[in-house]
Symmetry: C2
Subunit: 213 residues, 2 copies
């Protein structure tokens, strides 16, 4: 069974399985799925992204932990779950995500909420924000946290709708919680960490990268 989507038809395709290693019940999608349980799945235990990039969610209706699913194979939950720290065993909803040429990605980050404090322009992948100078200004003791509080907006002067999708991570090297930042959500503005995602407890971001189509 294939679900079609006018918006994305033909450009996005994902195949999900209810058992590991691409076994068991199988469903193919070219558009979003708000609740895979409605198709008789208990959960998704393996999947293959055949075209486009997708965002998977822990719960139905695109709630809970979110994680990027780019082209390739995910033979078990461990392969698509984003983080050891918050290990998830379920993928219940997913949707296509629009991306474009890596070179066109632009994002502006701010040190404080409501777009205050230090400002930085992003256009590449950054496995360590600290390595590019995004340390906070507090005096740091060896036992205190230096997590950064970073808030996002998209540059007004680069408005290509398909060129501005980023994924932010809690820890360096693209580990930990993932937050998908899209220019067509929240008007492309994320003034407070509560807008990062329903699972976001604090604005702790240590790595950021573009999403590959």
């Amino acid at each position: 069974m294939t679900h079609h989507c006018t918006k994305f038809s033909g450009h996005w395709k994902i195949i999900v399985f209810d058992e590991e290693s691409f076994q068991g019940r199988r469903h193919e999608f070219t558009s979003e799925c708000s609740n895979v349980m409605e198709l008789g799945f208990e959960t998704v235990r393996s999947l293959r992204v055949e075209s486009g990039a997708w965002v998977g969610y822990e719960h139905a209706s695109y709630q809970g932990q979110q994680f990027v699913l780019e082209r390739g194979e995910y033979p078990q939950c461990d392969a698509f779950g984003g983080s050891n720290a918050y290990h998830i065993e379920r993928l219940t909803s997913f949707r296509p995500i629009a991306c474009a040429n890596h070179r066109e990605c632009r994002m502006t980050i701010f040190e404080r909420e409501n777009f205050l404090g230090r400002k930085g322009e992003l256009s590449d992948d950054y496995p360590s924000l600290q390595a590019m100078g995004w340390c906070n200004n507090e005096v740091v003791s060896s036992t205190s946290s230096t997590f950064f509080k970073i808030y996002f907006t998209f540059q007004k002067q680069s408005c290509l709708r398909l060129s501005r999708q980023f994924v932010c991570y809690q820890y360096p090297g693209y580990r930990g919680y993932q937050y998908i930042m899209e220019c067509d959500r929240h008007c492309g503005e994320f003034k407070h960490f509560k807008e990062f995602g329903s699972h976001c407890q604090t604005p702790q971001i240590q790595s950021i990268r573009r999403i590959q189509q």
Copy 2:
């Protein structure tokens, strides 16, 4: 206590703790450590990379799972363990890794061992090798694996020693097992997956990125 290293002195610094959240016993290093247990640590449960990039290993003497540690904070094992699929609770040895300007990174990949089959040049970050056309040529059924077998060498014509460190991942989006590829190991050539690392069982690589200094 600080350990110094002539080769890297002053450019690399990591602080490790034997309890989570930067608590408990603390050690600061500017050079490699082949066995943190010799310093009275049972294991490392949190760490902060203050400068340079490092590679951590599951076991002593740089054996077992390996994972990149770039600048930033890792408040618990889950933050530096590379993979859900092979969750590790220990970091026993670690060493600095030499990196340079992202723009100078170059790597040549081959489809088959001993540098045979299709060839590709890498100089960027690739969260999905499939998305850049690295699918294998087999006819793929929905239940078969299409993992890629990829073998590595470094381009002879770009010999900047500090410009050619990559980390390869088992799954897309920088998930799963990590394999650190350095031009000064194995003469910069990795002809067989057994050279990727002591924990490597198969040459399954789905994403590759540069390491950030």
